[in-house]
């Protein structure tokens, strides 16, 4: 089997490096980790020390202490202060994780029909322009529908399965939905995971600066094929992306035309070769 998962590994931290939101989650994680390590060492150390230092010895008498209000108040307040600090840190980092930035210079020239409408859940870049891709989960494959529909109802839009091709330096917003059961969209290096729930839309974004392949897989049990519901994001320079999208659209149109032709041919057949309900 090939290397289907991740090119880089970190021992103590989540994967990052593909998109700014993943990087900001990573730095929030690291700050939390440092605070957590101090607490871990202090409390486990205190426990070990108490067990060893105060083990039963000849002649030792246990001190009959029933509590110490000042001490207990002290550590309650200390615990609360640490958590307030963590909450403040999280809020400070939250904007850069949730709100997509505008595309960088050298990103894709986005045309009008790729612009989505912002709402309280769907966040858009400051300039309002992003490449919006509809991500649809179904047992057991991801479908990606791009802007560029022929008709207002969305028919004729280019799409792909399993591999999402995106332009570099361009803010990509995702509109995540499901066609059957609950799935969860997750490419670790491109940020957190978001459930694809039937009847709902969930939103996230990423912006990739380095061309390359980023791998992930469905993160919520969706049936027997769950483990094989993989997804890859391939970031390419904008020109190459435009070419790919045009090509994809052409191939889909051609395939549809060929299918239509085949249907017509079957319908026109009579006699022994006729097929019911072609």
């Amino acid at each position: 089997m090939g290397h289907l998962l991740h090119p880089t590994f970190a021992f103590f931290t989540p994967l990052s490096g593909g998109s700014p939101n993943a990087d900001h989650i990573d730095s929030l994680y690291k700050i939390t980790l440092y605070i957590a390590l101090v607490i871990f060492v202090a409390v486990e150390g205190g426990l070990m020390y108490a067990l060893i230092k105060f083990r039963k010895r000849k002649g030792a008498v246990a001190a009959q202490i029933r509590g110490n209000t000042r001490l207990e108040m002290g550590w309650t307040v200390a615990a609360a202060v640490i958590l307030v600090a963590l909450a403040v840190l999280t809020f400070a980092k939250l904007g850069s994780i949730q709100n997509p930035p505008s595309s960088s210079p050298g990103g894709d020239e986005l045309t009008g029909d790729s612009v989505a409408y912002a709402s309280s859940e769907r966040k858009l870049p400051p300039n309002g322009k992003s490449l919006n891709i509809n991500v649809i989960g179904r047992q057991y494959i991801w479908q990606f529908v791009y802007p560029g529909a022929d008709e207002p109802d969305g028919l004729g839009a280019p799409y792909s399965y399993e591999e999402m091709v995106v332009p570099t330096n361009t803010t990509v917003t995702l509109d995540i939905a499901s066609a059957d059961v609950v799935h969860s969209w997750w490419i670790p290096e491109l940020g957190g995971k978001f459930q694809a729930v039937p009847g709902y839309h969930n939103y996230t974004w990423f912006k990739i600066s380095k061309p390359g392949i980023y791998r992930g897989q469905c993160a919520i049990l969706c049936g027997r094929g769950h483990a094989r519901m993989i997804a890859t994001v391939r970031a390419v320079p904008p020109a190459q992306f435009d070419e790919w999208l045009t090509n994809q659209k052409r191939e889909i149109t051609e395939a549809n035309a060929a299918a239509k032709e085949a249907r017509a041919k079957l319908n026109s057949q009579t006699g022994a070769g006729q097929v019911e309900n072609p």
């Binding site: 994680y29 039963k56 550590w75 049990l221 049936g223």
Partner: protein, 567 residues
């Protein structure tokens, strides 16, 4: 004048019925102790079944792209494992311990409703049998949380899912009846002098456990009834195409599911709070703070359910609220841990097996508590949720908060239940293996999750160090299993050849040690007057005082001497 001679009072002794020991005495019993033993034995059997399922899961994951079991069987195994451990082991094991020890610790002769108590046990057994009978047809495979729509009739047509629903109903009814019984017993049947401030801390946690069960279980009962009608009678509660919502299931499930965590760990905390003072020879540090933090955790536990849903499409205001409420719950939990360490501080700590399991439990629970802070921070949760990081977290929480305390409770109370001591050397060996096994199995799983491996996948590719990490975890699970087997051997051995325990082998603090081991059918001939949170300490002190002050030696024996002490 004839003098009137008062008749000498006489007791006519009829044949006292010998206590029946045959199998009919077990199936017809309403004695809380026999019911407690049946609970504990039954749930321990389910624990072993759940453990075997876990070992099969770990064997499958021991190597990348392994083909030991099919995806179908793998999904069935983790669904059975999770459901068994939660509904058939931890929650009813706590009920078993409570059944045996609530009346004894509060100085009552039985539970408030003995027949209802028997019904609770038989409903539990029925639930377990219904669920496990699905093994012979199609076991459920939608996970212990039964994701909807995956668990509806379109995507899970087999009857296994229905077996899961009936399990929830039957064990839920069992738990609610048990909870009402515990609450009533604790509220009404305490010994004279046992005010709320003198209630043993284990009893405080059982009281809280009962209240949590009474509030949380009706919600899951309603939710699984909705799922049942959805599967068989054409309702659309969770179907978005008909105006329903799959998110509704997540809300209902976790509104029950999060308090369920505290239902599992609070009694474990209660055991720790009982065992530490006995083996440190020191009173519990901050009795009031520990009792109050138990109640605070229970209350806050109802406000944090949506932290299981951070990746679902829910409004940001809810994410923020739930993050803060989840942080808040860390405060009373931290207070408990620090109080436990302070209880050991300046004590004389005796390293008996129950103390080892409690110290190990605190060390392990702390790891789960700290990783919980990462999961409560919702942007971090977006990365680590639904991966092996969460698997590690929940196992540290439940092993530290519930399973190791259950082992501590078994080692601590086995002498009371059977009249014989468990072997200390086997106990230490068992603890060592279990502690090492837990760390080996689950520490590395944090890293597996951080490297991007989701949970509930039956295979993974050989990339990075995933193969090595998973192999380590699998080895650890077998070390853990070996530790459990040592304890089982210890039970079997000690029942026959264990040292006879006597009434109070540990020099403990609470009233169950006032009775002979095992206690007689109605527990106490005379219920002592309770004058502090540590009644046995008072009784021992009084006995010592009287025997040294030259009173008759007979007064010094428990329980005859103590009856005089108590009155």
């Amino acid at each position: 004048m004839a003098t009137y001679v008062a008749p000498v009072p006489q007791i006519t002794a009829h044949d006292a019925k010998r206590e029946s020991k045959g199998w009919t005495s077990w199936i017809t019993t309403t004695d809380h102790k026999k019911i407690g033993i049946m609970y504990m034995v039954t749930t321990f059997v389910f624990f072993c079944l759940g453990g075997v399922e876990a070992l099969m899961l770990r064997l499958q994951l021991g190597a990348p792209n392994n083909t030991l079991v099919t995806p179908e069987i793998y999904n069935q195994l983790f669904t059975m494992h999770g459901t068994t451990m939660v509904f058939l082991f931890v929650v009813p094991m706590m009920a078993g311990l409570a059944n045996y020890f609530v009346p004894l610790m509060i100085g009552a002769r039985d539970m408030a409703f003995p027949r209802l108590n028997a019904l609770s046990y038989w409903l539990l057994l029925a639930g377990g049998l219904v669920f496990y009978s699905s093994v012979f047809w199609n076991p459920p495979e939608a996970g212990w949380v039964s994701f909807i729509p995956l668990a509806n009739s379109t995507y899970s047509p087999s009857g296994g899912e229905d077996a899961w629903i009936y399990l929830i109903h039957l064990t839920g009814l069992s738990s609610i009846l048990g909870a009402i019984n515990f609450y009533t017993t604790i509220a009404n049947m305490r010994a004279r002098g046992m005010s709320w401030g003198r209630l043993p801390l284990f009893i405080w946690t059982i009281l809280t456990y009962s209240v949590l069960l009474i509030f949380a279980l009706p919600v899951i009962a309603a939710a699984v009834t909705m799922l049942l009608t959805e599967r068989h009678f054409g309702t659309h509660f969770f179907d978005p195409t008909e105006g329903g919502s799959p998110i509704l299931w997540q809300h209902l499930f976790w509104f029950f599911g999060h308090p369920e965590v505290y239902i599992m760990v609070l009694p474990g905390f209660g055991v720790i709070s009982e065992v530490l003072p006995v083996f440190a020879r020191k009173p519990i540090f901050g009795y009031k703070a520990i009792a109050a933090s138990t109640v605070a955790i229970a209350f806050l536990g109802f406000l944090t359910w949506a932290h299981h849903m951070f990746t679902a499409p829910i409004p940001e205001a809810i994410l923020v609220f739930v993050m803060l409420s989840s942080y808040l719950i860390a405060v009373p939990t931290g207070v408990k841990i620090l109080n436990w360490i302070a209880t050991l501080w300046r004590g004389t700590v005796e390293f008996k097996t129950p103390l080892l399991f409690c110290a190990g439990a605190i060390a392990i629970f702390l790891i789960g508590g700290i990783s919980g802070i990462f999961l409560a921070t919702f942007p971090i949760d977006w990365q680590v949720n639904e991966t092996y990081f969460v698997v590690a977290h929940l196992h540290f929480v439940l092993l530290g908060g519930a399973v190791l305390p259950i082992f501590a409770a078994i080692y601590y109370w086995f002498p009371k239940i059977t009249g014989r001591m468990l072997s200390e050397s086997l106990g230490r060996l068992s603890f060592g293996l279990i502690f090492l096994g837990v760390l080996t199995t689950f520490l590395i799983q944090h890293v597996i999750g951080l490297d991007g491996m989701p949970r509930r996948v039956y295979e993974y590719n050989d990339v990075g160090h995933l193969a090595l990490y998973n192999a380590i975890s699998t080895v650890g699970s077998f070390i853990l299993a070996a530790g459990v087997i040592v304890t089982i051997v210890n039970f079997a051995r000690s029942l026959k050849v264990g040292v006879v325990a006597g009434a109070d082998p540990w020099g403990a603090n609470t009233l169950e040690w006032f009775t002979p081991s095992p206690p007689p059918v109605n527990n106490f001939d005379v219920v002592p007057l309770v004058r502090s949170a540590e009644p046995m300490k008072d009784i021992r002190r009084e006995i010592e005082r009287r025997s040294t002050s030259g009173r008759s030696a007979g007064a010094a024996t428990v329980p005859t001497g103590a009856t005089q002490v108590g009155v």
